[in-house]
């Protein structure tokens, strides 16, 4: 019997496997950031350990840093930050310098959300195992790598040993066929998948997104989809590497060069699932039937199409789902049966590792060009990385955003998790291109409506949720 993409990557990384024990799995690339790494480095110091493979470890700063700018090019100076955030940044600097780890510092040329910077720098390759103390590490699976989030204890284990103890997950094929219609994007595909399987539908599985609709997507779109695998409960999501993948990786700073490149591509071509490979579970989705999606609740599975309605409790069979709906709607200040079109919007956030790449900003700008953000709506655009920001500025996208009334920020996580000062106020509705609509995720009391960059831009102009297809 053939093997799946996941099984090939898994098997290639098992260092040791005792009967009845999890596998010792080798980790090719370890990404770290300022929030989930300090306690892991403390553990190394307490036990007198070193970083086993500093050259396989890369750090950047993204979660807690401010994204406000002091002038056109720089974020505000360290002295003006929250003290604890500044301590985290300085702790990361010290840890990276003491242990010999490459750091993409906020003060340098390269920096941004860890899952945007990694692929940009060419450290994300097909067939790799990649981990980070961050659940959206699943993003890197877009390249056909096995990439998943870990806790801080495991960050320490990987630093010390370059290995992790892992039990083998199950596999789920998510087949997406058909052609997306205009105004419907990768974000809508993944929101529709999660609405179908539920926020815990993928627990215990690694997803493989496949089918004609997936093959047509760009790397940026594939990353949007794999990014949100965790929102469906899966730790990882993968897409088979193909020419689109190779073209993206080739020539980047950490991509293999010369003969290494040729050998790497030859290996990568062996990775796609064999035709006779069997998955533990399969689901299907027809992309041609999709419309723009919006979440109305407090977990990413609570989403519906723009022409749809919030469900009624009586339409749900499972009492747990009924309870989840009623508590979500109470928090959101919305009612069962309410139409998605027209939901209120106070704040628009365009950014994050889901939709903070150049293509995303281009899409949002295409709607905003020559238009004004609705009065009473506040909007910020936070590029996923400095590279995204520079390229967007070179194309004049920043001008389109600021002319429309958006704030143009430095790179970071920002209002995706509201660890810095970027918070939507209590009770405010946020049209957000990020990935989580948990209670208070975008600031205490904030209410998130997840959607695509196109839909967020359309909401900004209209002052409420609206079908972007009418504006194309």
């Amino acid at each position: 019997m053939g093997k799946t993409l996941f099984e090939k990557v898994w098997d290639a990384h098992v260092v040791a496997q005792d009967e009845g024990a999890p596998a010792v799995l080798y980790i090719d690339t370890h990404l770290i950031h300022e929030v989930t790494s300090p306690q892991a480095f403390s553990m190394l110091r307490e036990r007198g350990l070193k970083v086993r493979r500093p050259e396989r470890t890369f750090a950047t700063m993204d979660h807690s840093i401010p994204t406000r700018m002091a002038n056109a090019t720089d974020v505000i100076p360290l002295e003006m930050w929250g003290t604890e955030q500044a301590t985290q940044v300085q702790t990361l600097r010290k840890n990276c310098s003491d242990f010999g780890v490459t750091l993409w510092d906020i003060a340098g040329e390269v920096q941004g959300v860890v899952h945007v910077v990694g692929p940009e720098m060419g450290i994300t390759h097909p067939g790799m195992t990649i981990v980070c103390g961050d659940s959206h590490t699943s993003t890197h699976g877009a390249f056909g790598s096995l990439a998943f989030g870990i806790g801080t204890s495991e960050v320490g284990h990987v630093l010390a040993s370059q290995c992790l103890l892992q039990s083998k997950p199950k596999t789920m094929a998510i087949n997406v066929s058909g052609q997306l219609s205009a105004g419907v994007t990768a974000k809508d595909i993944i929101l529709a998948i999660i609405a179908q399987i539920g926020a815990d539908g993928g627990t215990g599985y690694v997803f493989e997104y496949r089918g004609s609709a997936i093959e047509k997507l760009s790397m940026s779109e594939r990353m949007t989809i794999c990014n949100m695998s965790i929102e469906g409960g899966a730790r990882a999501g993968m897409i088979a590497p193909d020419q689109t993948t190779f073209d993206f990786v080739e020539g980047r700073a950490h991509a293999p060069k010369g003969d290494d490149w040729t050998r790497a591509v030859a290996y990568w071509k062996t990775l796609p699932s064999d035709p006779d490979a069997v998955f533990d579970r399969e689901i299907h989705l027809d992309a041609s039937k999709l419309e723009p999606m919006v979440t109305y609740g407090t977990n990413p599975g609570q989403g519906a199409g723009i022409t749809g309605h919030i469900p009624k409790e009586s339409e749900l069979e499972n009492p747990a789902h009924q309870r989840a709906l009623s508590s979500a709607l109470e928090y959101m200040g919305l009612s069962e049966g309410q139409a998605i079109n027209g939901l209120p919007v106070d704040v628009v956030f365009i950014g994050s590792c889901t939709n903070g790449r150049l293509e995303d900003l281009r899409q949002a700008a295409s709607i905003l060009k020559g238009k004004q953000i609705s009065s009473g709506v506040m909007g910020i655009v936070v590029p996923g990385s400095k590279d995204v920001r520079n390229k967007a500025e070179a194309e004049g996208l920043d001008k389109i955003f600021t002319d429309a009334g958006f704030e143009w920020r430095g790179a970071g996580c920002s209002m995706c998790l509201a660890m810095n000062e970027d918070k939507a106020g209590a009770g405010k509705y946020v049209a957000s291109t990020s990935n989580r609509n948990f209670q208070g995720r975008q600031g205490p009391g904030s209410r998130s409506l997840l959607m695509s960059p196109l839909m967020a831009a359309a909401a900004a102009v209209s002052g409420h949720v609206v079908d972007v297809r009418q504006m194309l």
Binding site: G82, H157, D200, A418, M419, Q439
Partner: protein, 196 residues
């Protein structure tokens, strides 16, 4: 790592599904560079009113549930962020075990690495348990890891599953790193022949 063998305690019911790690410990408590004191932020959005005082309506604030070492929650507990701070918050608050119909993967893993035992029980058992605990807050539950049994307030017991390797680690209070580090030779051999 703290070892876990058997625990008898009162239990606090939290009748909520999909409790994500942003609720267990909101982002503003993640700015620390140590693990200490995370209990203060545990469920803070629910536990405190906007003026910072305790929310009397929140289950864990009720006098009858003070000191409970077991939390009984809805399905998909610990979803979302990989932040281990969520586990540190629960253990610092005083919990040693969480019972739920299902857990999110990363949270489940993180718990095992900190001596917090996640116990999966069937949805109907959890439902009944909520009713029992709300009616009789002094009722005690015993979670016994060696026999993989939970003894409910009415004296009946339910089995639970746990990976045998993880069970051993918890019983002995050892973490993964020692096990991995014994594989030095295998790791060197592996690194010597990478695929490209």
């Amino acid at each position: 790592m703290a070892e876990f063998k058997t625990l008898t305690s009162t239990a606090a019911p939290l009748r909520v599904e999909n409790i994500d790690t942003d609720q267990i410990i909101p982002a503003k408590y993640l700015t620390a560079v140590t693990k200490e004191g995370m209990g203060l932020g545990c469920f803070s959005n629910w536990r405190y009113l906007t003026d910072g005082s305790d929310n009397p309506e929140f289950s864990l604030n009720k006098p009858q549930f003070q000191g409970a070492k077991i939390l009984v929650a809805g399905r998909n507990f610990g979803s979302g962020s990989s932040r281990e701070h969520a586990v540190w918050a629960l253990t610092d608050y005083g919990f040693r075990s969480v019972i739920a119909p299902a857990f999110a993967d990363i949270f489940y893993n993180n718990s095992l690495k900190n001596g917090l035992l996640p116990v999966v029980l069937p949805e109907d058992v959890v439902q009944t348990l909520w009713d029992t605990l709300e009616a009789n807050p002094n009722a005690e539950i015993t979670v016994d890891l060696p026999s993989q049994k939970v003894t409910l307030p009415d004296g009946s017991s339910v089995d639970f599953q746990i990976d045998p390797f993880r069970k051993l680690c918890l019983l002995e209070g050892v973490d993964d790193l020692g096990y991995i580090m014994k594989r030095e030779a295998a790791m060197n051999g592996y690194e010597a022949k990478r695929p490209y």
